[in-house]
Symmetry: C2
Subunit: 488 residues, 2 copies
Amino acid sequence: MQTKQVIERWGMFELTLLGPSTGNPYKDVNLQAVFRYNGREQTITGFYDGDGIYKIRFMPNVVGEWTYQTISNASELAGQVGSFTCSEPSAGNHGPVQVKNEQQFVYADGTSYFPFGTTCYAWTHQPEALQQQTLRTLQSSPFNKIRMCIFPKNYSFNKEETVLFPFNGSETDGFDWTTFNPQFFALLEERLLELQQMGIEADLILFHPYDKGRWGFDRMDADTDDFYLKYVLARLGAFRNVWWSLANEYDFMKEKTMADWDRLFLIVRENDPYVHLRSIHNGTKMYDHQSIKFYDHTHPWVTHCSIQHWDVTLAAIWRNQFKKPIVIDECCYEGNVPQRWGNVSGQEMVRRVWDGVTRGAFVTHGETYVHPEDEIWWAKGGSLYGESPERINYLRQILAEAPKNYTVMPHIYDVPTIGIEGEYYLQYYGLHQPLYRTIELPEDATFRIEVIDTWGMNVVSNEEGMSGTCRIKVGGVGDRAVRIVKMK
Amino acid sequence: MQTKQVIERWGMFELTLLGPSTGNPYKDVNLQAVFRYNGREQTITGFYDGDGIYKIRFMPNVVGEWTYQTISNASELAGQVGSFTCSEPSAGNHGPVQVKNEQQFVYADGTSYFPFGTTCYAWTHQPEALQQQTLRTLQSSPFNKIRMCIFPKNYSFNKEETVLFPFNGSETDGFDWTTFNPQFFALLEERLLELQQMGIEADLILFHPYDKGRWGFDRMDADTDDFYLKYVLARLGAFRNVWWSLANEYDFMKEKTMADWDRLFLIVRENDPYVHLRSIHNGTKMYDHQSIKFYDHTHPWVTHCSIQHWDVTLAAIWRNQFKKPIVIDECCYEGNVPQRWGNVSGQEMVRRVWDGVTRGAFVTHGETYVHPEDEIWWAKGGSLYGESPERINYLRQILAEAPKNYTVMPHIYDVPTIGIEGEYYLQYYGLHQPLYRTIELPEDATFRIEVIDTWGMNVVSNEEGMSGTCRIKVGGVGDRAVRIVKMK
């Protein structure tokens, strides 16, 4: 008798079965399994992995003994039964990220998750050595989320040939829109696992406009879109670190209507038993400022707002409008490329991240420095050259020390502040440079007031035993934050 | 026989008459004069100046011989006739400023007027020595427009006693809402003339909320508002350098409705034969970003948009929405006071002015440095301490050299640019810092391309003989503008 397989909570159980390889198994064969634990039941869809191999992946979320039984229209695949043990999660496995209240995120085990994302749209489409370099860079970076595309990217600085595609076929010969390339997905899955091991959430972009008809992934018909989406969901849904970003700059995809986006969202919702995070990211036309068009984030199938906007101070508007956590996934990138979205200084990048965070939002990093081989982080990964990551890391550390149930404090007039009244305050002054500010603190407690140089990454003044109406000596210079902590 | 009086074009002819001083002449006596030139006729309303003195002021706009005849319900004032000669304007007198097309301003004589304004809300309510200091400072400043209030101001850093008021009365005894104080107006008029001599337009704020019931000027009844407004228009309309700003932060004046503002605008329009510029300035609530409320600037009685907003990059939205010139009259001030609107750096102030200008808008300066006697420029005038005025002057010089019919060039993607296609381009990069940019210039002409350090106020690179597709070496640092001029 075989030893029972042990899968940790929020790990991945994978059942491999052999079945029909004739006809088109991607289309012809249905495969599901019902997973059961103590009266609880989850029906999970499997997928064809080529060469007569079928797989069903399952992420158990309860510790204990699970059983399963397969269902299929192929007799070889139907009626398979088995069981496994779900154990306590290992260190560093906190489960998938979920929304907490209307402002924040939390891992399934209750650990706070503050997204400090970065952007490498097409890093998994690069040569292997470059992908390895990206992984090494990520390992020593402050980032715990990455925005990345499933489809390859055809865009400035990123027009090279791509070798592997989700569909079978090639750029020159065209694609078979009825079958997938398991090799493509196997590589992507390897990357997802590597990210998972580093504690990085993969904000997977399911559609994007950076194709322009070169391969046609931006203009597949509705049946093909749906077919692709269901396959992706069956293959990747059991990775705990996956988020679904329906699209990047969805409004630039002229071939799709708003009704298409609604339909695609519903397909994701119906085919993801784990309720991973779901969002859709807008584009902005900078030249006339009138075409910024958000998808209606109030739809119940949108879990949080994934926004592109250069003015992160608008976070409060969006939160009031949508009542969901705000992630500003693009606010310009640190760099020096000609394009306006990719040439702000590291200092400005850091300001936007701090400003967003102290407004109760989260702001995603990206880097776009001109590179002799066009190895630009934002598109291809590789190395980071900028000045913002270490400052973002400094903020991440500060936030890790904040009380986990902090909220925005809009009643503190005209300085963005997060905290808990009478306990903790984190304010950001950014390009505002008052000589001083006053704050009303409780009379019956004492506080430590620290003025932080957010660029220099150090505390420039620290006053203890403060109480009541306090004067904060911001100092009349920019790039300052203030942390006020109740003393024990 | 007396020598005929000579008044220059857009100068001020003033007729003084003696009439009834009993009863309430402000309410009881009507006085007008019909001014005639070569078949042209203008009816001008006079005003009571106290002590039985009545005046009619007239700004002639055509050179030649004018005659007049008075009309009044008081027999002593009726039927007076006379004449004067209107001569060519003296140097520096270009007439009143008007709107030109939907983007710019022009003096009545066709000279371009680019507003480079500043803000000294209550400078005429300060002690005489401080007012003189303000005038000296303005004399050596780059500013050609000043935002200033008729009513005194009761606000942070500006809560002192005021001596003179438009109405008779005092803070302690209250005001007689049926009579005016000619002494108050005489002083204001002296200031208006001094500004005029310096080429500075007075953007006169007719109502504002910084009273809060202390004197009651923010909550007069509709009849009193109208009475006040008509008196102001009769007294001040003939000053060529007057603009009418209906209100500052009109939306913070809780006692007035939108219908009130419409009515007040119509009174101004009907009682100003010279068609001075008319606008109304909004407030912003910075803490939740949802209460920015513009008056509907599409109303025909609004000549241009007087906007308060921190994000001057939105100029194109407003122009598309309102089809009128955009003046961003508050975008935060250079300074270091605790309030968010008054503590950006000089560098940031300069960035906003440049950014607005290269988007075809205009941005008004203000300064709010903490001062031991609270002599803060933005409220009281006095001295300027900041770093932005000389940089604003540098921009003003650059703009003075631009072709006068420049327009915004939104087709030049994602760098704000004004100019004339194939002739002249002025671009501002600000906090965007590309290493390089390309621009398509005509093949059949040659151009000079200058990269300008907007903070250092010098040209950092200058390439001549450029043609066709050109690479602009912006240099990967911030605070850069580019000027491209067709060579003769």
